[in-house]
Amino acid sequence: MTTALAIDRLRVTFDDFTALKDVSLAVESGESYGLVGESGSGKSTLLRAVAGLAPVSGGTINVNGKRLGRHRDKAFYREVQMVFQDPYGSLHPRQTVDRLLLEPLAIHGFDNSERRIMRALDEVGLGSGFRFRYSHQLSGGQRQRVAIARALILEPSILLLDEPTSALDASVQAEVLNLLEQVRADRKLTFVMVSHDLAVIAHMCDRLMVMQNGEEVEQLTAAELTARRVERDYTRNLLVASEGFRSGA
């Protein structure tokens, strides 16, 4: 197996605040990798640093064996696509779904855009009836499906998912998670997924990293998590928290 994403001692600083402190990880090609932690733990920053959206001040990122420089080229964005948390904020409010999906195709010079758009919509379970709607005419779950379609339309090999379901209802979350699993199986994608919900990560990922204050707490496999074989107290607390509210706790 080859390594799809290798991060070595990555450091991100905003002015004098260090958001990510020398974090290293390696994700195999075809693997699904999870990042868990509370707000401010640096999990989203790590994802954004890979996508070129955060100021990297140290360490290296390798994608499919190629080291990334300061600037990402077009080829990078064909390989790596991102889905954001907020389906309300990540779609252009004045563009139809058709326009939204056409834009990445135009930028990367894909042919057959008509067929590709139809297929992308089919793949995320929306159908052609949604093609000429605006994002405000869609529900939260449908918007997230459009965002996934937009990411998949370039046929990337790595998908970065930043809390893709935390803005959705529990019932819609199940549908979107199933969709993501389906496309990963169909296209042999590599996932790097961020969530504060341990149960979602345990369901979706093979391996995961627990983060706190911009640092790694520990790395686990999903099986170790399920068997409660965790080393650190912080992870244990997260496990307890994921079981719901207990009075007097």
Binding site: E38, S39, G40, S139, G140, D169, A170, S171, V172, Q173, A174, E175, L177, N178, E181, Q182, H196, D197, L198, A199, V200, A202, H203, M204, L225, T226, N237, L238, L239, A241, S242, G244, F245, R246, S247, A249
Partner: protein, 277 residues
């Protein structure tokens, strides 16, 4: 004991260009000094039920009910001035997202004092003292510092605690919490629920907890109402949730991923039109 709140056959209708949308269709329940959960998906009418009780339904909507009484006061026929006096004083509401629900150009302390002084005649100094005490009651460590901060200067969990402080400072008897923790992290969520739990218990308030997360609600409330398409499909004690009979309730419980349950794909919620009849 007389119930604190009685709702009988509540309807909320929104006239639109394409016809009337019935958001709430015949909801009935009573609430004592207990914790009641209302659960459902987006669009099930759970928030509109809460808003109707609070009196926050938009003016173009039509509300009708056989009875809607709070402590003997007929909420449907009460004049606006009386409803204003109730709102924030005896009935309070916590909203989902502190980022949007707090006033961005007013310090947190001033917002709490504003609520208090709207309903009670207290001096500025006394109001400040009570606001600070309230901030401490919601476990904000450095209350004096937070008092002078603007909402954008605090984290989501802190903002939500400030909102709880603001809602409880006038000592309400009924608290409506509309998705109070959905915008928060799991760990912060539990802290906020713990604070809410303690305050509700100590002050003997009635609580309506509105959420889409059935498992969270059942771990927090005494009784749960499940809504679908504007109607109540099932009402049961939180402890008997595992014995839920309605397939919609079972679906809501089932669709959440659980650690240790290896279910691929996750069961998806069925929505049958006949349940809405």
């Amino acid at each position: 004991m007389n119930p604190l709140l009685t709702v009988e056959d509540l309807h909320v209708r929104f006239p639109t260009r394409t016809g009337v949308v019935e958001a709430v269709r015949g909801v009935s329940f009573t609430l004592g000094r207990e914790r009641l959960g209302i659960v459902g998906e987006s669009g099930s009418g759970k928030s509109q039920t809460g808003r109707a009780i609070m009196g926050l339904t938009p003016t173009h909507a039509e509300i009708s009910a056989k009875r809607m009484e709070f402590d003997g006061i007929d909420l449907l026929r009460a004049p606006p001035a009386q409803r204003r006096a109730l709102r924030g004083n005896r009935i309070a509401m916590i909203l989902q997202d502190p980022k949007y629900s707090l006033n961005p150009v007013m310090t947190i302390g001033r917002q709490i004092v504003e609520t208090l002084r709207t309903h009670e005649k207290v001096s500025q100094a006394e109001a400040r003292k009570r606001a600070l005490a309230m901030l401490e009651a919601v476990q904000i460590r450095d209350a004096a510092r937070v008092y002078d901060l603007y909402p954008h200067e605090v984290s989501g969990g802190m903002g939500q605690r400030a909102m709880i402080a603001m809602m409880l400072v006038a000592g309400p008897e009924l608290l409506i919490a509309d998705e109070p923790t959905s915008a928060l992290d799991v760990t912060v969520q539990l802290e906020v629920l713990g604070i809410l739990d303690r305050l509700v218990r100590e002050r003997g308030m009635g609580l309506i907890f509105i959420s889409h997360d059935l498992r969270l609600v059942s771990s927090f409330c005494d009784r749960v109402i499940v809504m679908y398409a504007g109607k109540i499909v099932e009402e049961l004690a939180a402890s008997e949730l595992s014995r839920a009979e309605h397939p919609y309730t079972q679906g809501l419980l089932d669709c959440m991923p659980r650690i240790g349950a290896d279910r691929h794909p996750l069961p998806v919620l069925e929505r049958k039109p006949e349940w809405a009849l």
